[in-house]
């Protein structure tokens, strides 16, 4: 018998022969296989590997074996001041940036949906920041904030206002990062809200109008409850993304001044690549993953309960 690598005979490989029947019998498995393989390779294996790394002290010297430290890397999180600073900064950034983006995005969507529905050009323009690569956004804002030659200080100067060190001032640096993030990601919320508004049923509004409900009343009692699932998804996606903030901070401030903009992603990067301590970096990453899962679950449960 002439065998193939899989042990099938030539007769089986012939079209219309055994191969076809075999493929038909295992069609479900065959169709799922690529996805499962990709999932295993890109998600499951790295996740398991990260768990494994997080309980080891890994030397940058390849000849030094990995040292099992159990929960040691996680215990270290409790006393690591830089981690605490990064955690606080990430929380501040996430809460402020996502809140502002949500309010602006919802407001813009209501405005454009209700009053200037036909201005599709304006809607497209508003979405441009979201389409730009984060690195391009960061460099653009770096140039805007540049204290000596930046356009923002040039405007301040011409208006006779005091010049500011936007990204270099301890009191303004986080604010500057938030503004850049709001500029880029408000369109994302706006887009989702606009889609949500477009799908609202008309009848309840007609009934409410007949009953003499004010616009505010209609917004509060109809629009917001109807939009709740969309709002939940938008906020969830933005919170998860904000927790991973890296590009803007890396380019604009590098985590400074005085650690005021050091966020968790930047700290993980530093620990893993600058301090060559991938075990501890894996532990911090797992912490962030854990927080994200808890937040998402809590959030989704609350939204479901509210429904």
């Amino acid at each position: 018998m002439v065998g193939s690598a899989s042990g099938m005979s030539t007769a089986q490989l012939r079209p219309g022969g055994g191969l076809e029947r075999w493929a038909e019998r295992h069609l479900r498995v065959l169709m799922l296989a690529p996805t499962v393989i990709i999932l295993l390779g890109l998600t499951i294996f790295p996740s398991i590997y990260m768990f494994y790394a997080a309980v080891h002290k890994i030397s940058p010297n390849p000849d030094v074996p990995w040292d099992f430290v159990g929960p040691g890397n996680f215990v270290r999180l409790l006393s690591d001041q830089q981690f605490h600073v990064a955690l606080l900064n990430t929380t501040v950034f996430t809460v402020l940036a996502v809140t502002v983006e949500f309010l602006l995005g919802l407001g813009l969507a209501l405005l454009l949906d209700k009053y200037i529905r036909r201005l599709t050009f304006l809607k497209t323009m508003l979405m441009i920041p979201m389409m730009l690569p984060p690195i391009a956004v960061a460099i653009t804002w770096k140039l805007i904030y540049e204290p000596q030659f930046g356009v923002l200080n040039e405007i301040m100067y011409r208006l006779g206002l005091p010049l500011q060190a936007w990204a270099g001032d301890v009191d303004l640096a986080m604010f500057s990062i938030i503004v850049a993030d709001v500029w880029q990601w408000t369109p994302f919320i706006f887009l989702l809200m606009l889609a949500g508004l477009a799908s609202l049923p008309v009848e309840p509004y007609e009934a409410a109008a007949l009953d003499g409900a004010s616009s505010w009343r209609q917004f509060w009692d109809l629009t917001l409850p109807f939009l709740k699932p969309v709002i939940a998804i938008a906020l969830l996606l933005r919170v998860m993304d904000a927790l991973r903030l890296f590009d803007l901070v890396f380019i604009l401030t590098g985590g400074g001044p005085a650690d005021r903009t050091k966020v968790l992603s930047l700290y993980i990067y530093q620990v893993a690549y600058r301090f060559a301590d991938p075990g501890y970096a894996a532990a911090i990453s797992l912490f962030v993953l854990f927080v994200t899962i808890i937040l998402s679950t809590w959030f989704m449960n609350r939204m479901r309960l509210a429904d």
Partner: protein, 419 residues
Amino acid sequence: MLRKLFFTLAVATSVLALNGAAWADITILVPSGSEGDGLRAAAADYAKLKGTKVEAVQAPYANVFEQGANAGSTKSGVFDIILMDDPWIPFFAENGHLEDLTPFFKSAGMEGPDSDFLSKSLAICRNPYNAGPYVCLPYVGNAQMFFYDAAKFKEAGVDVPKTWDDVLKAGKTLTDGGGGRYFGYVFRGGQGNPVVADFMPIFWSYGADMFNADRTKVTIDTPEGAAAMKTFMALRDISPKGVESYNANEVGTALAAGTAASSINWPNWVATFEDPSQSKMVGKISYSPIPAGTKPGSSEIGHWTMGIMSASKNKQEAFDFMVWATSPEQIKISAERGNPPVRASVFTDPELTKQEKFRHYPVLMEAIQASTPRPRHPKWPEIENAFGIELSKAVAGTVTPEEALKNAQDAVSRITNIY
């Protein structure tokens, strides 16, 4: 037939993609900027001359360290040579990522690098510093110098700034008269490497150092350190607003645009300042050694050095390339391409020194010979980060200079386990 052709092309493309730069005989990891551009140009010349295929992979400054460390810790052998910033040498050498060059010198019938290299340039290529075996060869002779606008300093009553007091005196006059648009001094205040790099020469010029001589004590929080910090804070007060976030580009731009009168800077910026298309200050900037504090000034050395990665499969070819690229002829060509040399014969070559753009060479050679290396420690990136955070806090005014020194002392002690 078409299917077969398509299949063959697909396989060939995949193999090429998987192998990356495997077509090359030697692969070199170099930084972006003039240092990497120079070595990449040299690699092209070498390929033409010797028929050896040399691939230069360029990455931004921080990524060179990361990619080198990754290649070293995974023994990937993807890079044969790494062009390193000298403070990285202890990390790479002590973690087994660099090849000891002694056997290669021996088999080439050489004792080691020749004596035309500057002694300070060679000292950093030995690990431990100036004592152990050679693990690299110096390629770009960076050491900081003091850059200043001589005319402005003269206007402010200082002919040549020899001490930090001179700089402060002239700088204050210029900043006070600058109306918020012109400043007497500018420095890299960005957290991490930038602020540390611009503080260390001041630190040393007041007799301070990070460790004592036998490395048994961290010595940041000392009276000498406090004196250096006092000067640093005074310099901050005459610098532009926002200096807390400045890196090399912002400082270079301020000098080239003529909005700041002085700074500590690296010699590879000379080419920019002397280029009319990039600078308003062509021919107007003077170069001097680092000013003195209570002790003679000392530059921070920041050489770019070439080492062979331990996992390289082409070590002999890599060594041959390194010896060729650091020969007097090639270092001269490298100098003409804008990279400061590491050889005395090139520093004093009349063909170069008679040119206006190399007028800083005598000062630079002196600066290298009077330079100090950053503390040689395999955990230097972590030490630099911790020190940089505290310096950044002091510059930003969120802690007092005294607190910054104390916190830095504690942080460095914790990292190095030296109490």
